[in-house]
């Protein structure tokens, strides 16, 4: 066997081992929540929403850092923008690449949880793949608005530093904030304990509320409704 083939095989085995480990970890985290195929109640919706918000804030944070580098780093922009290539093409390609990278990173982390959820809770959980991809696009759009807004407000020199600080605050504030509230209220660092508590649940909208409409397509998948996937992606 050639050296190259051997290293490819080793890398493949490494990826499989990591994937198995992450799936095992996801199972350990999720199996204690009982029947995952039951219709979602307020607590489940609160936890899923909070997790998506956590993911979303991390995506915005990542996207801001990358948008700052892609838009305002000198790097190769001088070379390309001094050429006849249309600037919008360059930025469209770079924005697309950022979206793909962020979605791929988020999906790699979320995939074990989604797989375990769909294995034990039904195929409707697979809709989470589409939701996370859509969330990456929304996160990127938000990051672009924030970064360009910073550029217009405080100028080019301070944008990079400020964007990195804002990104760190956005990325950390939600996760730390929820954990802080959990420790103060329940003496436990578990965010899920707080999200499932009676105290919080009474403020969570009822299952029938219009605010939960985005879950409708996911539920529709359960009933094998064909247009549901399109709806999931549009959400």
């Amino acid at each position: 066997m050639s050296g190259r083939r051997r290293s490819v095989r080793r890398a493949a085995l490494g990826v499989i081992a990591i994937a198995l480990f992450l799936h095992g970890f996801a199972y350990l985290v999720l199996h204690r929540y009982g029947d995952l195929s039951r219709p979602p109640d307020q607590r489940m919706l609160a936890v899923v929403t909070a997790m998506l918000a956590l993911y979303g804030s991390l995506m915005v944070s990542q996207a801001m850092e990358r948008v700052t580098r892609a838009f305002y780093g000198r790097t190769d922009l001088d070379l390309i923008l001094a050429s006849p290539v249309a600037a919008w093409r360059l930025f469209a390609v770079r924005i697309g690449a950022i979206a793909v990278t962020i979605a791929a990173m988020s999906l790699a982390l979320a995939a074990p949880f989604i797989d375990v959820l769909s294995w034990f809770g039904g195929v409707r959980w697979l809709a989470a793949y589409g939701v996370i991809a859509a969330l990456a696009m929304v996160g990127l759009a938000l990051a672009m608005i924030l970064t360009v807004g910073l550029f217009r407000t405080i100028g080019p020199r301070r944008t990079r530093l400020c964007a990195q600080i804002v990104a760190a605050i956005i990325g950390a504030s939600f996760a730390i904030g929820v954990q802080f509230a959990a420790i103060l209220s329940y003496g436990t660092p578990s965010r899920v304990a707080l999200l499932q508590s009676e105290a919080l649940t009474k403020y969570v909208p009822d299952v029938g509320s219009i605010l939960w409409w985005p879950r409708a397509p996911c539920s529709a998948i359960c009933s094998r409704s064909q247009p549901s996937w399109a709806l999931v992606l549009s959400c």
Partner: protein, 256 residues
């Protein structure tokens, strides 16, 4: 001279750009076809900002820029097609070889791949990079990287070559080589506008020199014109330049 060729390679009128304070302040500048023009000035005089606006990398607040008669603000793509830009610290991709880099640059200017390969080999030869043509750029010295970037700038056979401090970091041999390549381009009918702090290079190469301070011209012309404007006798460019800066500073102090 061919009647279809405009007599001016570059015409800049009332060019203005402010950041926190004015960087370029109503600048008028003309470079003739086949002319080697050098912009001099102390740090912060607005030289690089001027060149970046001409290249289309910065949008002016006011003013007009015409490259061989093409309105560079209204039709930047057409202007960029015939313009080359080489910054003080050009970026070249570390993981590419010089030949691959030139192939990439040729793609940006839509140069036919076979023609680009021939020109790339020719430029690599001119600039003495043959032995490194297939090494990755990360292994090249600063001077060699500068030469690769210059080859990239010349690949699409530009008519207006804009250079910001092209001799920074070059050893004597490389500097001579770059000077001879630029001279050859000017003899071939190209126009060059360049900034430099190396006054010796400016004195030897430039047909005309513009001395900028605080975004405006303090003096402009050939060395004799500058001497006259400075009232500096028969001094070399360094003496003339320093006298101009001193008198300019004194005048500004009086006005203030």
């Amino acid at each position: 001279m061919d009647q279809d060729v405009p007599s001016f390679a570059l015409e800049v009128r009332g060019l203005t750009k402010s950041f926190e304070k004015p960087a370029v302040d109503g600048l008028d500048l003309s470079v003739r076809t086949g002319e080697f023009y050098t912009l001099l000035g102390p740090n912060g005089a607005g030289k690089t900002t001027t060149l970046r606006m001409i290249t289309g990398l910065l949008k002016p607040d006011r003013g007009s820029i015409a490259v061989f008669g093409i309105d560079a603000l209204a039709d930047p793509v057409a202007a960029k097609q015939i313009t080359a830009w080489l910054s003080e610290e050009p970026m070249i991709y570390d993981k590419l070889t010089p030949m691959e880099y030139l192939e990439f640059v040729a793609g940006l200017w839509s140069v036919d791949s076979r023609l680009a390969a021939a020109r790339a080999r020719e430029l690599i030869g001119w600039l003495g990079l043959e032995t490194h043509a297939n090494d990755r750029c990360e292994a090249l010295s600063r001077g060699m990287r500068q030469k690769v970037a210059l080859a990239g700038a010349l690949l699409h056979e530009p008519r207006l070559i804009i250079l910001d401090e092209p001799f920074t970091g070059l050893d004597a041999g490389s500097a001579r080589l770059v000077r001879s390549v630029l001279r050859e381009r000017v003899h071939a009918g190209c126009s060059v506008i360049m900034t430099t702090h190396i006054l010796d290079v400016a004195e030897r190469m430039a047909d005309r020199i513009g001395v900028m301070v605080a975004g405006r011209f303090l003096a402009e012309g050939n060395l004799d014109d500058l001497r006259r404007q400075a009232g500096a006798g028969d001094g070399d460019l360094e003496d003339t330049f320093l006298t101009l800066l001193e008198t300019g500073a004194a005048k500004r102090a009086v006005v203030a």
